[in-house]
């Protein structure tokens, strides 16, 4: 198998795919937002509990490829407990890294999310990694239309 593939499907990603963290539906008052990738049919719902400008709790449900599921799982771990400002900052850094334009500071900010950087070698799969993030952002912005990566 090629090095790029090994980089893409590394242990931590396969592990999150197999055993997704925070794979739960949160009850109201938690708000939910929908994400949909029309190209491949991946769907996910993110449940958000925000209090005092902080992500107090987060969960997700849905079906998709290993990359989208692992990315959603890792994202929930990364943003839990963070302020909305921090989450927005992380979103931007993540976006730059998976698109192949991340700086050293971006990589540092990402922490364990760095594992998804290999996606940048697979342009067709960047959308898989970013679906959860776009869905989270639309949840934070209280938009009602499903988030897509288009």
């Amino acid at each position: 198998m090629s090095d790029e593939l090994r980089e893409l499907y590394q242990e931590v990603i396969l592990d999150h795919n197999k055993k997704p963290r925070n794979f739960v539906q949160l009850k109201p008052p938690a708000e939910s937002s929908e994400g949909y990738n029309p190209l491949c049919g991946d769907r996910l719902t993110i449940y958000l509990q925000v209090r005092n400008g902080k992500v107090e709790d987060i969960g997700f449900q849905g079906a998709g490829c290993a990359i989208s599921k692992a990315s959603a799982s890792m994202m929930t771990v990364a943003v839990k407990g963070r302020t909305i400002l921090e989450v927005n900052d992380l979103f931007d850094a993540f976006h730059r890294v998976v698109s192949g334009g991340g700086s050293e500071t971006d990589f540092e900010k990402l922490g364990s999310l760095k594992a998804l950087a290999g996606v940048s070698e697979f342009p067709a799969r960047v959308k898989c990694a970013s679906l959860a993030w776009h869905t989270l952002k639309s949840g934070l912005n209280h938009t009602d239309t499903p988030a897509t990566t288009e």
Partner: protein, 413 residues
């Protein structure tokens, strides 16, 4: 078949050299192209026709009195005769050039519904249709108040013929059915379906995108009322396709587009339409596409349609057996009569992950819902991986696919 898995009767190597792209490398590996249901590769005669036309013969058709225009018109209309003979249409008046299958279905859905549909009428399709044989009919229902009915399929991915028959009622005004399912490979019993429909005076449109050129298509023998297909799935260019329609229907249907070429006379108060098939060919058409489609027809006939069909069947059987040996692999769509398409899922691996890993082995397959979301829902999957074969594919390529799928399994153990 010999023990090494090489056909005795047909050798794809005799033809692979005709397809330049097949010798390309992907990530340093030989391209194994198994996405023929999406589009087929182009043989040299087709490529050369396009290049020659634009280099030496380009002119508009049906207009100029100069040499090049007359030649172009002749080439264009000769291609129509080739297509007419290829599908055995009764006349060239029944061969309308369109952009592709989607365009052809939309033409019929738009024009037929305008002429014949009223509120409460029914349109019958099946559960395994491609979106392009669903959405145009939904749109026709929206504009006319007609109702869309859907004949169900069984667990093998076959249309349930009894149900189809029951759903043909006095309200049914047209039935639109895939000849071959793109998502599953099912070959529908279209001859029987047409017989049942005609017994109730219901005309039938066949979506032949996936059928041509796998089984030989004879529209008079099938007795279908409309037949839609695309050039690019039969080794011709993209952007060109054919709508066959029985003259008796086409005559009664209004044009869907107005413009040049489709008129006889125009004044500012009144226009009379051109005769068939030009009534449906407004504007400058895809001239070179039509001529190159003619070259694709010539090429296919040289290879031999019967030989192609027999070899593809053999390759399908070989691939089906090879893939079923892989633990956890499940084939969706196991109709008794199938074209060379294998739609599958593999354990916990998602189709897109399969597609990415195979791609790095140089193997091109399709991963997704295949523009047939309703049938995916029926099998309760969001996506499948799909390998689809043409006559230039080899047994070794099937082996490469099977080996690469083993690698997928290693990743997702």
């Amino acid at each position: 078949m010999s023990p090494t898995g090489v056909s005795k009767t047909f050798n794809p190597e005799d033809y692979r050299g005709d397809f330049p792209v097949l010798s390309e490398k992907v990530y340093g590996k030989s391209l194994v192209y198994l996405d023929n249901a999406a589009t087929t590769q182009k043989p040299r005669p087709v490529i050369e026709t396009i290049s020659r036309f634009y280099s030496r013969e380009n002119a508009n058709i049906h207009r100029g009195v100069f040499c090049l225009s007359e030649q172009a018109t002749h080439s264009y209309e000769s291609a129509r005769i080739k297509v007419q003979r290829f599908i055995n249409a009764a006349s060239t008046r029944e061969v309308v050039f369109v952009r592709g299958t989607t365009d052809a279905v939309n033409l019929v859905a738009g024009s037929f519904s305008k002429a014949f549909l009223k509120p409460g009428d029914e349109i019958l399709i099946t559960h395994l249709e491609h979106h392009s044989n669903i959405v145009p009919w939904q749109m026709a229902c929206e504009t006319t108040g007609a109702v869309l009915k859907v004949a169900p399929v069984n667990e093998l991915g076959e249309v349930i013929l009894d149900e189809f028959e029951k759903m043909l009622t006095s309200k049914t005004k047209i039935a639109a059915v895939a000849h071959v399912s793109n998502a599953l490979g099912t070959v529908n019993p279209v001859r029987e379906m047409i017989r049942l429909a005609h017994a109730k005076q219901v005309p039938v449109l066949l979506d032949g995108a996936q059928a041509v050129p796998h089984p030989k298509v004879d529209v008079q023998d099938l007795d279908c009322d409309f037949y839609a297909f695309s050039g690019h799935k039969m080794f011709g260019p993209t952007g060109i396709g054919v709508l066959y329609g029985k003259e008796q229907w086409l005559e009664k249907m209004p044009p869907v587009q107005g413009g040049g070429d489709m008129i006889r006379t125009v004044s500012l108060t009144q226009t009379t339409y051109n005769e068939l098939p030009y009534k449906f060919e407004a504007g400058t058409p895809h001239i070179v596409g039509v001529i190159a489609l003619g070259s694709a027809v010539d090429y296919l006939q040289q290879v031999g349609l019967d030989k192609i069909q027999a070899y593809e069947k053999e390759l399908l059987d070989y691939a089906t057996k090879s893939l079923l040996k892989i633990p956890g692999l499940k084939i969706l769509g196991q109709a008794r009569d199938k074209a060379s398409v294998i739609s599958f899922i593999l354990g916990e691996a998602h189709a897109h992950d399969i597609g990415t890993i195979l791609d790095r082995e140089g193997i091109a397959i399709r991963a997704g819902h295949h523009c047939a979301m309703p049938i995916m829902d029926f099998f309760k999957v969001a996506a499948t991986a799909r390998a689809s074969f043409a006559f230039y594919n080899t047994h070794q390529e099937v082996d490469a696919l099977a080996a690469a799928l083993q690698k997928v399994q290693e990743v997702f153990r």
